[in-house]
């Protein structure tokens, strides 16, 4: 466990010191605030538009963090950073889990900053507090980082470094899609995670909250899926030559 925390710690320290992370958060805040300009175009629904934009853009910010993981692992393997770490009594599975946890923490920080910023923008603009459903949905976005990070780790090990980010984006895109794939349960909710479980944006905008039990169950599903995907990644990584 200490090894995983050590790798995760080095990962989030390394990423959270990059200025681009805070530039991304700032850009998302600006885009969320820009929804206020659409009061006429949205026929006075700019409040709902702002809430919807905050949820959508927070999801995008989270996905961008997770996608960067598919660049990070092949880069570390190629440049020798991973060799230096794996020459210690660490174990390959612990290395992968550490990287995954590190990026989940980075995603948590980024998505929390976006959520806090969006709450402040909403509060200042409309002088009313944010609804519980919005809070729940931002929490769900953060929780969705867990299966997404596992997917990113799996593809960054299983696929060549140029293809891995593209395939990860595609899979996350389809995983967020609604019922189109639900008739094929082996793929949807099986191989591809059912990220639609984390999505109730349209209800949250109108402050229709879900039960906390649902949030917990979805979180447990996300963790279970992450264990499945990272075990598969670990199995592949244990056979991989590190050049």
């Amino acid at each position: 466990m200490n090894e995983i925390i050590a790798i995760a710690g080095s990962t989030w320290k390394n990423v959270l010191r990059l200025k681009v992370v805070y530039f991304l958060v700032f850009c998302v805040w600006v885009l969320i605030a820009s929804a206020l300009n659409y009061d006429i175009l949205s026929l006075g629904l700019h409040k709902e538009l702002l809430l919807d934009a905050s949820l959508f853009l927070n999801t995008i910010a989270g996905v961008l963090v997770i996608i960067s993981l598919t660049f990070e692992i092949p880069k570390e393997l190629k440049e020798g950073v991973a060799s230096a770490m794996l020459s210690k009594p660490l174990g390959r599975t612990n290395y992968l889990v550490g990287k995954m946890v590190g990026y989940i923490v980075v995603g948590f920080v980024v998505c929390s900053l976006v959520a806090i910023g969006s709450f402040l923008i909403f509060n200042i603009s409309f002088s009313e507090p944010i609804g519980i459903a919005m809070l729940q949905n931002h929490i769900m976005i953060i929780l969705s980082l867990i299966p997404m990070a596992a997917i990113a780790v799996l593809f960054s090990i299983a696929l060549p470094e140029i293809i891995a980010p593209i395939v990860t984006v595609l899979v996350i895109w389809f995983a967020h899609s609604t019922g189109i794939l639900s008739s094929i349960p082996v793929i949807y909710g099986g191989i591809i995670p059912d990220l639609d479980l984390f999505n109730f944006k349209s209800e949250a905008v109108y402050n229709n909250a879900v039960t906390w039990k649902y949030v917990i169950l979805v979180a447990l599903w996300g963790i279970s899926y992450a264990i499945f995907a990272s075990s598969l990644a670990s199995l592949l990584f244990s056979r991989k030559d590190i050049k």
Partner: protein, 312 residues
């Protein structure tokens, strides 16, 4: 010798399979034994299989066949890595971390207790002359500084075995000298050192054992003194023996004066020279010592590689 060996490989082979291209045999039935307490130089031209061997020993790549044991355990044993210090050929570390933070993470992975960790990190930073840069980000370091940090993380756990892949590459002459001192210092503490290098003069200076590899096959392995053939005679002339020196110097191939005022002269292998030296010893028994002079490692290396008929 076998029981005293820190590294034993038997029939180690590695074949890289490539899509739509012929397979490459990087290592061909390599069997070596590295004695405990030795400084073992692992030599060979580019593509000889040195890095492949080292990576198999560190379980970074998997052997196609054969076995490798390190410190008496299989090379895939995770816990044995706690007793090894490893420096990869082009060390790269997380660029946003400071040198201290990086070594602290290495210390955690090596399970060095937190109460001892800080002192140990300061010691190794001092040993590699990086203390003034402890709080600087690794991303701002030059190649030589990265190499120093690489050595610092390799000796952090006071290892029983150091495995170094081209440790002297990219260092200036001062850096190389310091590193050789570090390696010899580690050997003095009882650490065995196994390292690959292209810099033959450095290998000759610090190694007591060598192995030469070419195209994945081992060409020779053993004690450096046994391998380098006697190529002539060496005379050490005590200080203030100018008459004797004048007699010998005209026949000498090389001459060099040592700090204590004595001279070292080397001679070719011929009966006339041997007769002259015998006469000199009879005449000045207290002032001259004769021994066999050995072939230079560089000459030996090229002779062995050319003999293999595979020089590129």
């Amino acid at each position: 010798m076998e029981s005293e060996a820190v590294i034993i490989t038997e029939g180690l082979s590695k074949v890289y399979k490539r899509l739509f291209k012929p397979s490459v045999k990087a290592l061909d039935t390599l069997s070596i034994s590295v004695p405990k307490g030795s400084v073992f130089g692992f030599l060979g031209p580019n593509g000889a299989g040195k890095t492949t061997t080292i990576k198999i020993l560190m379980d970074l790549i998997k052997a196609s066949s054969g076995t490798a044991a390190v410190l008496g355990k299989p090379s895939y044993d995770v816990e044995v890595k706690g007793m090894i210090g490893f420096l990869p050929d082009s060390p790269a570390f997380s660029p946003q971390l400071t040198a201290y933070e990086f070594l602290n993470i290495c210390g955690k992975l090596l399970k060095i207790p937190s109460e001892r960790r800080s002192a140990r990190i300061e010691n190794v930073l001092d040993a590699v002359k990086m203390s003034p840069h402890a709080r600087d980000k690794i991303g701002s370091f030059s190649r030589g500084m990265l190499q120093r940090i690489g050595v610092a993380q390799a000796i952090l756990n006071e290892p029983k075995l150091l495995i170094l892949d081209e440790p002297l590459l990219g260092l200036d002459p001062y850096g190389r000298q310091e590193f050789k001192q570090i390696i010899l210092g580690e050997q003095a503490k009882g650490t065995s050192v196994f390292f690959s290098s292209h810099i033959l003069s450095d290998v000759e200076e610090i190694c007591d054992h060598i192995a030469i590899l070419n195209k994945g096959k081992m060409l020779c392995c053993g004690k450096i003194d046994d391998l380098l053939a006697a190529s002539g005679s060496k005379a050490v002339v005590a200080p203030n023996n100018d008459d004797l020196l004048k007699e010998l110097v005209t026949s000498a191939v090389t001459t060099s004066k040592r700090d204590d005022g004595s001279w070292i002269l080397t001679f070719e292998n011929s009966s006339e020279i041997k007769a002259m030296l015998t006469k000199a010893v009879e005449k000045f028994p207290q002032s001259i010592k004769i021994s066999a002079s050995h072939e230079k490692l560089e000459d030996f290396f090229f002779r062995i590689i050319k003999g293999d008929g595979k020089t590129e």
